[in-house]
Amino acid sequence: MTQVNRVAAAANQHINRNRPLTFIFNGKTYQGYEGDTIASALLANGVDVIGRSFKYSRPRGIITCDSQEPNAIFQVGSTQATTIPNPRATQTELYQGLTASSTNGWPNVDFDLMAGLGKIGGAMMPPGFYYKTFMYPQSLWMSYEKLIRKGAGLGCSPQQPDPDEYDKMHHHCDVMIVGAGPAGLAAALAAAETGARVIISDEQNEFGGHLLCSTQAIDGQLPSLWVKDIVDKLTTMGNVLLLPRSTVFGYYDHNLVGINERRTDHLGEHVTTSSRQRVHKVRAKQVILATGAHERPLVYGNNDVPGCMLANAVSTYINRYGVVPGNELVLMTTNDNAYKTAIDWHQAGRKVVAIVDTRTTSNGELVQQAQALGIKVLFGQGVINVKGSKRVKGVEVAAINAENHSVSSAISHYSCDTVASSGGWSPVIHLSSHTGSRPVWNDDIAGFVPGETVQQQHICGGLSGVYALSNVISDGFKTGSTAAQDAGKGDGSYASILPLINDPQEDPAMALFHIPHSKPTSRAPKQFVDYQNDVTAAGIELANREGFESIEHVKRYTALGFGTDQGKLGNINGMAITAKSLNKTIPETGTTIFRPMYTPTTFGALAGADVKHLFDPARFSAMHKWHLDNGAEFEDVGQWKRPWYFAKTGETMQQALERECLATRNSVGILDASTLGKIDIQGKDAREFLNRIYTNPWSKLAVGKCRYGVMCKEDGMVFDDGVTACLGENRFIMTTTTGGAAGVLQWLELWHQTEWPELEVYFSTVTDHWSTMTISGPNSRKVLEKICDVDVSNDNFRYMDWIEATVAGVKARIFRISFTGELSFEINVQANYGMHTWQAVMAAGQEFDITPYGTETMHILRAEKGFIIVGQDTDGSVTPQDLDMDWVVGKKKEFSFIGKRSWTRFDNKRDDRKQMVGLKPKDPKFVLPEGAQIVFEKDQPIPMTMVGHVTSSYYSACMGYSFALAVVKGGISRKGQSVFLPLSDGTTVEAEICSPVFYDPKGDRQNV
């Protein structure tokens, strides 16, 4: 293939003809140059049809040269891991070997089965078609949807993991400038000269914005030289961060700007030299939006035939890329500005058939220039229809009357292969909308501009409706220095002198959006408004007739602006058509609000480096390496990785659990309990504070003693539990659940800081300071005695005491408390000695076959004793009374402690509340599923009356039968009764309500 449309090099071009690149599109190989986008390269190669439309499956070509592009949306990449769905070909830089294909067009773009549907689709697929047609029967919707989606082709997600890396960076600056066109560059320079910290970003690969495709001289030179001069200055300043290829995708509260920098996308499909994309989060004191304006197409008959393009896009392809996308041009315009396109086309050596100007006259400089070049200009006329299917073959032109939307002359035919249109320019207001600012209509430019905002935001250049280049640049200087001053830098003045620019005198433009046809809109050839969603002028008018008058409703009914382009190209035209059909003005009709992302942003970029092993912090105890070396399987408890069980070779999980349980009950087991939260509580009012926070009394707990406590929220529901020990008259150490540690500390601080600051007490977390190992079982004392320097006999070290001792040569606190019901010692050492002490305990325990056990065995052993686990047996709706734990509630405490008042609330006094009980399945081998629902009567129609559920359920190797803990309505007074559990497999099992304490109900074993 040759690049038939590539013309001779001109000075302002931004492609490198010395670096040809080959690429593949829809299976064919083409050539382009470094600096090309896929779009410019395809146009250079004369490729007309690049996809099929969403609903009607009509052939489509490239329309724009930027983020507005609705048609040239491709699948890029050659592997299932690197493929990217839906980037815009107009913004995708070419690299050697790039592989792309159309996303719309099944089975292929040139021969499309769906087009059959599209041809008759005018009547068949009006707006709301999907709602109306596929509504009934509802059961078939899933099948319809699959077909529609396949036909529509929205791109394919990668099927393999993304091989690329992504990351994020935070920045702070005085002035953040979005857009590096003439306004943005001028603003950056003026701001940077004050010494302000400046960041300037632009979505394009090069700075310059509109100047990249302009031929208008600045200081008598090419505009690219002015751009280079400014960029060079900014680069050397040291206080400016320049971010090309960086799209500001979102503008968030308090001047936070989200930028996605494409670092390697232009280098190849998978490049390993750095992260592929980087999200910059910029917190700016002042933000300058210099996002410029997008040209608006006109809406006319068959305006989607390949060859119909935006006027400015045509100029860009000619001037920037050296590509003339056709041979014979008809330009339709409402303004002087677009005459440049015809002049560019003519100067590139190809034929301008005619300029069709909708205005009755214009005498602007560009108009005169075009006429002087011998270009035919037809005033007061419009292109009302395009001929051709896969490429424009000609146009129908007629005199039009915009006032009463009619055609007022006979139709003339012109042969051509390209139609460029311009309806004027729309400021790119998206970012200011992101923060909730409502755009306002500006009659002078016939477009919306940003409205009032609460952000520290400035706008300049095209975005504020300033279009003449000299004004744009001076606006940039002024805004840059003002923003810097608002950020506390400089005095609002600027040193730069406005370059010499000769802006052509322009006659007023005409506010026209929709070109009339000789037939009424509903019968005229399709006039597309939103190409991506195949929304036509007729469709919008129909929606209006059907009662959809709010622009938000029109949007949702017709899908106007719902594509990945967010209606960049079509929204204003759609609003104008709605306004006209409802006999309102555009500002009365209003605009829909744009939201982030400005252009689609990859999930990879948003995830950054927080993936895989860095997705969430994994917390480890000091003995983790030992657990790894000894075959532990791990369980996530919050962010902690806790040993779940230690399987020996060949053991199943169940076998391991039974072995661990029996070893602990019969000899000695060891558990890593380091993850429990530990809070050091000091101060003379510590005791009083505990009295207020815990449900039980603490006034009399002596130094050297421990006590179990339960905490409730103010609503009376249990939210944490644990053992607190008295270290000194004014000092306690509180333990919390593993998952509750941070929450409990915050809870204590909340009450202390907000309600009781007068209490003299301090809380400090010491969770990570201590490594905790619990040895449990009848032989645990024998193990401890071997390595401890203190007499730990039952006479000297009572149950619920704690002592300070030396264990394996390390200073330790030992708590004689038990969560298994066995004789237990909890050894705490400074965590740097954790591994040392653990190994010493294991060595000492070897003769007793000391057995490490994990959280699952801990759960079984404690459940055998009827000990609750907060969060498993409780769920935030359970009071201590519901748990049959009234014994943990202080009856004589003076202060109405947290939660107490709520227990006497009407709802909490009901005797049919769900209460904790034990359950014994009738089949002693059957383990009830946790979460299984409980009913009183088994023969009930569905839905049955559910009266509770299983909270914990295990097989007990020690007792030889399965058992469960459950909550059952009024369960405490139903002991001995049978309940039924209908299971998900359709069977129903029976169980007996019993005491939740299954093992050693008198508690003898822990007291030995």
Binding site: R283, V454, Q746, Q753, E755, S902
Partner: protein
């Protein structure tokens, strides 16, 4: 993402350092036992949900671990002021003529 002034660290910090902690200036009744169920429920469950200025507590979770108060506009997300626990707001809805 908000930028929040911590009155204890005495500077602006990113929202991710903080945790929201609900409506500010709710005082625990001195003697809960004498309250009716309804009065107690009002303290427990009823919270304001204004369109406009809202006084709320935040916790500087990753910073100084202190709770403090923020007056925030729930429509624009502007923060009018932040002030220490125990202090009263200087900007209130009634002053601004809002309800």
């Amino acid at each position: 993402m908000l930028l929040i002034h911590c009155p204890y660290c005495e500077e602006m910090r990113e929202e991710e350092e903080f945790s929201p902690a609900g409506q500010a200036h709710i005082v625990r009744p001195l003697d809960p036992e004498v309250l009716s169920d309804e009065e107690w429920a009002r303290y427990l469950f009823f919270r304001k949900n204004p369109r406009g200025l809202h006084h709320e507590m935040w916790l500087h979770t990753h910073g100084c671990r202190k709770y403090f108060n923020v007056t925030r506009n729930t429509v624009t997300y502007q923060i009018m002021e932040s002030y220490k626990m125990g202090q009263q707001p200087s900007v209130t809805a009634s002053e601004k003529g809002q309800s």
